[in-house]
């Protein structure tokens, strides 16, 4: 399934500009700990987190994660969005909790 389809189906608010939303998403990873994501996220995952720290972009980029879904309507700093645009990582925001977004994405991908 393409990232763009997940965005539509879960009604995510895309915050980055000019980042390709055609990447194929094969799974997801839910974590707020960068080391955990470094160890366990896989290429083709979309990452669901409450973390909005600048380092999330570098971690996503290193792991081949094409999109980060920020939960609970957390505000994402301009600097983070700019870095994400440079790295080609899409950042989306949702008012839902991590549990509920995970649930919805799981239904779509299974």
């Amino acid at each position: 399934m393409k990232l763009g389809d997940i965005i539509n189906d879960v009604s995510l608010d895309v915050k980055t500009c000019n980042v390709c939303l055609d990447s194929v998403i094969t799974g997801a990873y839910v974590s707020d700990l960068l080391s955990d994501v470094m160890a366990n996220a896989k290429d083709g995952n979309v990452w669901i987190t409450l973390q909005t720290h600048l380092n999330i972009v570098a971690v996503a980029s290193l792991k081949g994660v094409k999109g980060i879904i920020i939960v609970n309507s957390r505000r994402v700093d301009e600097a983070v969005l700019k870095k994400a645009e440079e790295e080609g990582v899409a950042i989306m925001v949702t008012p839902l909790s991590a549990f509920e977004v995970a649930g919805k994405v799981y239904q779509l991908l299974k």
Binding site: G27, A28, Y29, V30, S31, D32, L33, D36, N40, I48, L50, Q51, N72, L96, S97, A98, F99, E100, A102, G103, K104, V105, Y106, Q107, K110
Partner: protein
């Protein structure tokens, strides 16, 4: 949903068993590694799914009114955490699934996240 049902869906191992008399049904789940997330958003009487196993997770659970904790990816807490959970009567489980899969399975089974006002 009871803890027994949740535990079965998650193929979970019980680390600290619930008291026999205390089989309240769960309606709400919180999946989080950031403790303030648990404290800020979530309604009391929720289940917590997390990748952290330190004692302060148990204390957060107690303060936030979390009624049971599931550790993901087969993580096992140390003796201190277990002892604190026994003392606070907070059942602990360990599931082989990651937070995403564990959340997905429980969502599919009908559980949701209830928010704190």
């Amino acid at each position: 949903m009871t803890l027994a049902e949740i535990s079965e869906i998650l193929d979970a191992l019980s680390i600290v068993s619930p008291e026999e008399t205390d089989d309240v049904p769960f309606h709400s789940v919180c999946s989080a590694d950031l403790m303030s997330d648990v404290l800020y958003y979530h309604a009391p009487n929720s289940l917590l799914i997390t990748g952290l196993t330190q004692p302060h997770v148990i204390r957060t659970a107690e303060i936030a009114g979390i009624k049971a904790i599931v550790f993901v990816l087969n993580k096992k807490p140390d003796a201190r955490t277990i002892e604190l959970a026994q003392q606070k009567k907070i059942p602990l489980f360990s599931t082989p699934y990651c937070t995403y899969t564990a959340s997905g399975k429980l969502y599919e089974a009908g559980l949701r996240s209830l928010r704190d006002a």
